[in-house]
């Protein structure tokens, strides 16, 4: 059904084209995105809360929207098989959650190393013992240095849009990297909300493997000896230098993705109430909770701004620096125990004692807006006591 495409510039269409209203869940939003993404092949493996979206994508296959689909044996095998399909020149999609992400972990740097623009949705949930299937995004902190692009959806609308945008960004010749689109499980996947969808007949252009910066493994694309003189295996200066420069190029490709993220996603961050003295900086569903916290604070006469971080990799260091240049406090609420986002923000800013790493909830707890508002007030109060701002 890729041939139905009537849109020359799907990127512009996605950003500014007409949309129609729909009242659907996040899982259904994933399905709506994949339906329009001209995907050749999707591979599924069950795990909560991801399964529902991959069931729906199975239905897409049954209806002919996707050319191939199957249930694989485990997440490592799923990620290996989509890797194989991408090496063979196909556009692929898969999704997983928490423990599935960790089961498949070895494959993610391989995707990046092979420079394959695989798009994977992560419906984040708890990992480790005691077991939890509840929302939590600690797995994102574990994926920060795998080489993949990482986008964090606030809601179902973002989840839908970011999947389509991820293909547009990841498949650019000067990028050609895997992209993970993350959403906090259940909160996004199982919540029904009003969304705006592109027209039913909207499609991305089909993937053209000839535009890839690396050859396709099909015995049609030169060079014949793709791995002649290997980048690994030989313990000498030339092989380690070649290996190192390959990895530098992966990092450079992620840097080059910035301009495409600005074009297709409208920026790496969104700022509300610019110029505020107090900012809440968050990603995922913590953004929605922060928006409510700001409403509470404003009701109490405290002015605060919001920074929604959409792109986690590449990380918007400069955008953040600029946004908080005149700010005294940056509060970072998170749905995980580790506080990876606060660490990233602290590492990006000067005067980083301005950053409060919290509040944090995990194990499936919700994050009430008052908890964030209290953290903001505590930070302001502590600064007053210490004679600061």
């Amino acid at each position: 059904m890729c041939s139905d495409n009537n849109f020359d510039d799907p990127g512009a269409m996605l950003l500014n084209g007409p949309r129609t209203r729909a009242f659907i869940t996040g899982s259904e939003a994933v399905c709506e995105a994949v339906k329009r993404a001209c995907v050749d092949m999707a591979i599924a493996y069950p795990i909560t809360p991801q399964s529902e979206s991959m069931h729906l994508i199975g239905d897409l296959y049954a209806k002919g929207y996707i050319k191939d689909y199957y249930r694989a044996e485990n997440e490592f095998a799923v990620m290996a098989a989509v890797h194989g399909a991408a090496l063979g020149g196909g556009r692929v999609f898969t999704a997983t959650s928490g423990p599935g992400t960790l089961r498949a972990m070895e494959m993610f740097p391989v995707w990046a190393g092979a420079r394959q623009p695989i798009v994977c949705a992560f419906m984040c949930r708890g990992v480790s013992l005691p077991p939890s299937i509840q929302p939590e995004n600690i797995e994102m902190g574990m994926l920060l240095d795998t080489g993949m692009l990482m986008f964090h959806a606030e809601n179902g609308q973002d989840f839908h849009d970011m999947i389509l945008q991820a293909y547009l960004i990841a498949e650019q010749t000067d990028v050609h990297l895997p992209a993970g689109v993350f959403a906090d499980g259940f909160f996004v996947t199982h919540t029904r909300e009003e969304m705006m969808l592109p027209p039913e007949d909207f499609r991305l252009l089909p993937y053209d493997s000839n535009l890839a910066p690396v050859p396709t493994f099909d015995m049609e694309t030169p060079p014949m000896r793709i791995t002649r003189d290997p980048l690994l295996n030989k313990s000498n200066f030339i092989s380690s230098s070649a290996n190192a420069s390959w990895h530098q190029e992966i990092l450079a490709a992620a840097e080059r993705a910035r301009k495409h993220i600005r074009r297709f996603m409208g920026g790496l961050i969104e700022v509300e109430n610019p110029g505020s003295k107090v900012f809440i900086a968050a990603s995922g569903t913590a953004v929605s909770q922060s928006r409510e916290a700001i409403r509470i604070l404003q009701g109490e006469g405290i002015d605060a701004g919001l920074i929604k971080i959409k792109s986690i990799r590449p990380f918007p260091e400069q955008e953040l620096k600029d946004a908080v240049e005149g700010a005294d406090h940056i509060i970072v609420p998170e749905f995980n125990a580790g506080g990876w986002l606060a660490r990233e923000i602290r590492a990006s800013l000067d005067r980083n004692t301005r950053v409060t790493a919290g509040p944090r909830v995990f194990g499936g707890m919700t994050m009430p807006p008052w908890l964030i508002a209290d953290e903001v007030k505590s930070a302001i109060q502590a600064a007053k006591v210490n004679g600061g701002n």
């Binding site: 490592f76 098989a81 063979g88 791995t227």
Partner: protein, 284 residues
């Protein structure tokens, strides 16, 4: 293979390596060569770095010379000794990770089917015994159970040779190896039988001691995988380095094992595969 894929751009002839020019002028692509033609054409494997007398290297040479259509063959390898040789193989070959080869091959085969619906593209997995029978057994068997149209070839040197000679599931019981300091405590895995009961339409256990039999098995396995279903070939390829054998005795070691009843050639062919092979081999 696209016409001209190998062709050297005008003006670059003199700077391309000699062995590449030989491949262009006298390679096996589209020629339907077999092992009987070895010595008369430029082989796909060039200057491999494997040890003297390596059984795996010999098996790999014979396997590559037996491919029915090298010009349309994509190899998926795995970590191990063979991964050291594959960068020197003039076919598109993929090295992803240790053990995931049959999952990767599944993806490659399915993508190539979608992209080239009117063309045969053979996807052949060539991996060691550790990759096939231990760390990757799950994905190997699952690809058989799913009836993927891929050929799985195990180069069985009965050890993890590349990491320094550790016991594998394919080592013989009682063998003292690294990580089996008092000898292996359980039998060699009967993977040909497992492949047979897992639905492989063609299964063979062969060795380079009988090159013609090896060549026939590889060819049959690839042809059956194309049209009928999954296939498996296990090639006994002793490791002189880790088993402390005299490198020149690799083949005689295989013969002795066979004589002692400790290695057997095997072949299982499903009815459907046999009917198909009859038509193919009659034509020939």
């Amino acid at each position: 293979m696209k016409t001209g894929m190998l062709k050297i751009s005008p003006g670059f002839e003199d700077i391309m390596p000699e062995e590449y020019r030989e491949l262009v002028d006298n390679g096996p692509y589209g020629k339907n060569y077999g092992i009987g033609d070895l010595g008369s054409f430029k082989e796909l494997l060039e200057e491999h770095p494997l040890c003297a007398g390596c059984g795996l290297a010999l098996s790999l040479r014979l396997t590559l010379a037996s491919l029915p259509m090298p010009e349309e063959t994509v190899i998926v390898g795995s970590t191990g000794c063979s991964a050291l040789a594959f960068p020197q193989v003039a076919l598109h070959n993929i090295h992803s990770l240790f053990g995931n080869q049959n999952a990767v091959a599944t993806g490659v085969k399915r993508a190539l089917k979608l992209r080239f619906p009117d063309k045969e593209k053979d996807v052949v997995v060539i991996a060691g015994d550790g990759a096939t029978a231990d760390i990757g057994l799950d994905m190997v068997m699952q690809s058989w159970l799913r009836r993927e149209n891929i050929t799985t070839i195990m180069l069985d040197n009965e050890a993890y040779a590349n990491t320094g000679g550790q016991e594998s599931g394919m080592s013989m019981p009682g063998t003292v190896l690294n990580m089996a300091p008092t000898g292996k405590k359980f039998p060699k895995l009967s993977l040909p039988e497992i492949a047979h009961t897992s639905g492989c339409d063609y299964v063979a256990a062969v060795s380079p001691a009988k090159p013609k039999q090896l060549a026939k098995a590889v060819r049959r396995a690839i042809l059956v995988a194309r049209k009928i279903g999954p296939t498996y070939v296990q090639i006994f390829s002793p490791c002189p380095t880790n088993y402390k054998l005299n490198p020149k005795e690799t083949v005689s070691v295989i013969r002795q094992r066979e004589k002692d009843g400790l290695y057997q050639t095997k072949e299982f062919i499903s009815e459907e595969a046999q009917a198909f092979l009859n038509t193919v081999e009659e034509k020939k």
